[in-house]
């Protein structure tokens, strides 16, 4: 079977992409609004076809530590959750980053803080991009704005995770998780063989079949100078990632006098606001960061630097705005507009916020 066009929810696209891109294992625990990830995997039963393991763990802590173990063996493994569950995974993510292992984790964000609400939100931006766990680490963070990107970013996420041997997050939200759109799905790719892992992942604990040498995976190093050297190595990877893998989309920015900066579902809503504003003669564009870490600082600086004002639109109290301000060096006025606690801003209300800013 070649490429195929299907209609599915964002959450289902995550699951379908995992199966088709040759993921080895999914470990997760249900939570609204992302339960369809596990549901779809259980319905498709890939363990009977590709051999991918699907396991409902007893908790989020168990899930992330199963991911840690799978990753240590060089397997392409993943988990998914929503905000309160994702908070529980932070210790594990820090360990995975510290042990320099590749892994994919999906957060379909809901309103917080605390148990919060089950409605969509973007209030986990700080947690995901600034490090929710301890230590000097980063999560490479992809922010899909469509069901197609939910699909595409699973394989991309695994590629980046293995390129940098670092955990990658897909930071989505209830809108993109629940909406159904057209998706072009790929043909099934085979999972990596043990021989392939043996040859290509010299760090992986595969049972030392060929070399006989012990491969120890740990995030513990008691000698400070050695731990500093590990940190140097990790930071060097992050600088390389900032250089090579910051992604964004610029929409109608060429003639714009103002821009929105928004990601994920907020960016989709802003696209409509751009349409409405331009119908009224307001020259506004949109920068949509696709990677939230590394933040597309250069693009925002360059495009944003030409604007009269910038409006950072987020479904939170103002988190990404800090990165926008840093990018433009505070030379251009940057304001925030947001709704939170599960409320989704409408295209018209964002347009009104833009007009208020311009006045």
């Amino acid at each position: 079977m070649a490429k195929q066009l299907v209609l599915m929810k964002g959450n289902q696209a995550i699951a379908e992409a995992a199966i088709r891109c040759g993921c080895d294992g999914y470990f997760g625990y249900p939570i609204t609004p992302q339960s369809e990830v596990l549901e779809h995997l259980m319905a498709e039963r890939p363990y009977l076809t590709t051999g991918m393991v699907v396991l409902q763990a007893e908790s989020e802590l168990a899930s992330i530590n199963m991911v840690y173990a799978g990753a240590a063996a060089g397997k392409r493994v993943m988990t998914s959750s929503s905000s309160p569950g994702f908070s529980l995974m932070q210790e594990g993510l820090s360990y995975i980053a510290g042990a320099e292992l590749p892994a994919l984790c999906v957060n379909v964000v809901r309103g917080g803080p605390g148990l919060g609400t089950i409605q969509p939100s973007q209030s986990d931006y700080f947690q995901t991009t600034k490090g929710g766990g301890h230590g000097d680490y980063r999560l490479i963070t992809l922010a899909p704005a469509s069901v197609q990107e939910m699909y595409d970013f699973v394989e991309l996420g695994f590629d980046l995770a293995f390129k940098y041997r670092n955990p990658v997050a897909i930071l989505s939200d209830g809108v993109i998780g629940q909406v159904m759109e057209k998706v072009m799905v790929d043909d099934y790719k085979p999972r990596w063989t043990n021989e392939y892992i043996e040859q290509n992942c010299p760090w992986a604990a595969t049972g030392h079949r060929s070399t006989g040498k012990h491969r120890i995976v740990t995030s513990l190093e008691l000698e400070a100078l050695k731990q500093e050297a590990i940190n140097d190595r990790i930071q060097a990877k992050y600088r390389k990632c900032e250089e090579e893998d910051a992604r964004y989309e610029a929409i109608q920015c060429d003639d714009a006098e103002y821009i929105f900066v928004a990601y994920g579902s907020a960016a989709r809503i802003c696209m409509k606001s751009v349409e409405l504003a331009r119908a009224e003669g307001i020259k506004v564009g949109l920068i949509r960061p696709i990677t939230l870490w590394p933040f597309p600082t250069k693009a925002v600086a360059e495009i944003g630097g030409r604007m009269k004002k910038i409006l950072s639109v987020e479904m939170n109290a103002g988190q990404m705005i800090e990165d926008v301000k840093l990018a433009v060096g505070c030379k251009i006025p940057v304001e925030h507009y947001g709704r939170y606690g599960g409320v989704i801003p409408t295209p018209v209300e964002i347009l009104d916020a833009l007009k208020k800013m311009i006045k």
């Binding site: 066009l5 209609l7 609204t32 609004p33 609400t117 089950i118 409605q119 209830g174 809108v175 629940q178 909406v179 159904m180 759109e181 057209k182 579902s265 989709r268 809503i269 802003c270 696209m271 409509k272 606001s273 751009v274 349409e275 989704i344 409408t346 295209p347 018209v348 209300e349």
Partner: protein, 183 residues
């Protein structure tokens, strides 16, 4: 062409599946589509709604507060969405259980008495397809052929023998449509 639609009623009326069938039919007709349900506490025993967008272009926001068409199936949804129809837009509703009829003068309003008809014919489960027929009569966005393909895609195979009955219900809905107020 871009058509932005809200379908709203009680959970269990087939609001979400009506939207899904419309979305699938749209895909068959090479349109871009988006289907966004209300989810969570709203759905449990209460109101349920879905935003469906069909377009020839890339769809911007799946979440909207103004619609070209509102298909309304209970009073709560009427209270919430009558004002959300764009001027010049379309409102279709089932008068069953509606105590406050719509009062807008700047939109086209039609009735489809689908609840009564469905119970008269003993086809309560096809209620939503009767409503869909009413809508397609006013706005033939998808052809009957594409609707057929859409039904094939959205219904599991074990239900495919029911497709002709669904199509009949759509035709019944087309005949049932009654103007309430037109501009």
């Amino acid at each position: 062409m871009t058509e932005e639609i809200i379908i709203a009623g009680f959970g269990g009326q087939g609001v979400l599946s009506m939207g899904k069938i419309l979305a699938y039919a749209g895909i068959m007709q090479d349109k871009e589509v988006s289907w966004l349900p209300s989810y969570g506490p709203e759905m449990r025993g209460g109101t349920s709604n879905v935003t469906v967008i069909l377009s020839d272009e890339r769809i911007c926001s799946p979440y909207l507060n103004q619609f070209d068409t509102a298909i309304i199936l209970n009073q709560q949804s009427m209270d919430k969405f009558e004002a959300a129809v764009k001027p010049g837009g379309l409102l279709i509703y089932d008068p069953n259980g509606i105590s406050h009829h719509p009062t807008r003068k700047d939109i086209n309003i039609y009735q489809v008495a689908a609840t009564d008809k469905a119970s008269e014919l003993g086809i309560a489960k096809l209620f939503n397809m009767i409503v869909l027929g009413g809508f397609l009569k006013v706005k033939p966005l998808v052809t009957p052929e594409m609707l057929h393909k859409g039904l094939e895609k959205s219904l599991p195979e074990r239900h495919h023998h029911l497709i002709p009955k669904n199509e009949e219900a759509v035709e019944i809905g087309k005949g049932l449509l009654k103007p309430y107020h037109t501009i």
